[in-house]
Amino acid sequence: MLAFLSSQPVQTALIVGTCAALVSALIGVFTVLRGNAFAGHALADVSSAGGAASFLLGISPLLGFLGMAWIAAFGMEFLGVRKARERDLATGVVLGAGLGLSALFLYLDVTTTSTTGATVSVMFGSLFAISRGLIWPAILAVLAVFSLVGVFYRPLILTAVDPDLATLRGVSPRWMGLLQLLVLGLAVAVCALAIGAVLATALLIGPAGAAIRLSRRPGQAIVWAMLFALAAVWVGIWMAYESYYWFSGNAWPVSFFVVVLIFVFYVLAMLGSAQHRKLRRGAATALPGLQES
């Protein structure tokens, strides 16, 4: 354990992974509440084009992911589609175009620069290979997300519950939507850096989806989501580190372990909440009988 914690790549991985877990859990709950899971997934995928472009431009990959996530977010918002089916269509079209760009940039990365492994690290992440210089930018992104959500917590929840009710309280659903996309972009960038653009969705949606089934209050859901996300990231990093010894010198990717753990948590939460509901229904039907006797 001591060797694990004193290794510098592990320390960086733990810090960046913790950042990713915290922001994704927080934003994930709002994304799932708003029924925006697909848009969140699309943003994460499209951000891969930014990650890929960052190698070509020689900028920080965090900025690359963030830039592209924001471009895609505002693109989707300005397509301004209100019906759910059309929104899915618009999202799908933006997603396709973004991944196309990503294919081009990754091809250029591999052929014109000396970045071998760009494809894997952009798409699927390489947490142990993150440069230490990215720790502070990641922490800043987390602080920005937490302060924005802290300030606009109640208007964001009211808008997620019903946009009309929000309007009547003087809260503009349009502005709240933009704010949410802004922080979603930040969260996506940190997650994409940690476990890759394609797998960022898992961290964004999985813990929040599991938490929502177990909670009766938004704050409670956020705390559960954070616990799930932190457990998945920390245990995932540890397992990947140990897997070096399990598979005789061939360590498996961190992202794989993180994603599998999230999946397991989600399934357990589903089974748990289904069981809970069955018990409650059982109690509800048993009660009248008891009163009669």
């Binding site: 109640r154 208007p155 009211l158 019903d162 009766r216 938004p218």
Partner: protein, 271 residues
Amino acid sequence: MTNQRAILAVADLSVDLGGRSILRDVSFNLYPGQLCALIGENGAGKTTLLRTLLGLISQRAGTVLIDGEVPRKHRALVGYVPQKITFDPDLPLRTRDLVRLGLDGHHLGLPLWNSRTDAAVDAALQAVGAEDFADRRVGELSGGQQQRAVIAHALVRKPRLLILDEPLANLDFGSANALVDLLGKLIAQQQMTVLVTAHDMNPLIPVMDRLVYLVDGRAATGTVAEVVQPEVLSKLYGYPVSVLRHGGRILVLPDAPENADVANLNRCAGH
């Protein structure tokens, strides 16, 4: 009563949406403590009228005054219960939380515990009889219970005018009667003024003081006795209609065409 200031004054209101004329020259006043029913078929302009009263749509002509001011300035005076909110069963939000959002959902910062807020939320829950499901998720409640939860959300800021859009539309007879009783109680106990839309006026007849009858964007207003008359409604519809009264219930029907033969009528009835 008429020497009081109208809580809601609508004068010569015309509203266009997307280039189409939706409301034309609608006028009516609503005084404190009254229940007014806004009756009309789907597409008659009921929801547009409500959204204009709430300041969500602006009018082409005419005025809307809420306690003498334009709607935007008097948001706190008006509580609104939308037609249908679908709450996902998994939505992590208790009835109590939904009600609290009605009080401080527009405030910045985190929702900290506060005994005054708690007391206001409890009072609103009690006013609609929602204490029993206050701690359950709104998504798990029945349609009637969800509606009570949303009414409590609207009531918690103690509005003087409560506006409900089609509150009876998705309810069974029992829940509909319970809701009508609740509205009567709110008016009696909290001096509330209530505006309700419905396509069937019958469930509301026992409690309504006034009625605005909307047909294709134009309105006839007054008491039931004044408005629900063949002459008034025929003029409004633009073709002859009859008003049938039976056991306190009212049915408005278009007159049969004069040249319609019995066989034709039978065929229509069969379909």
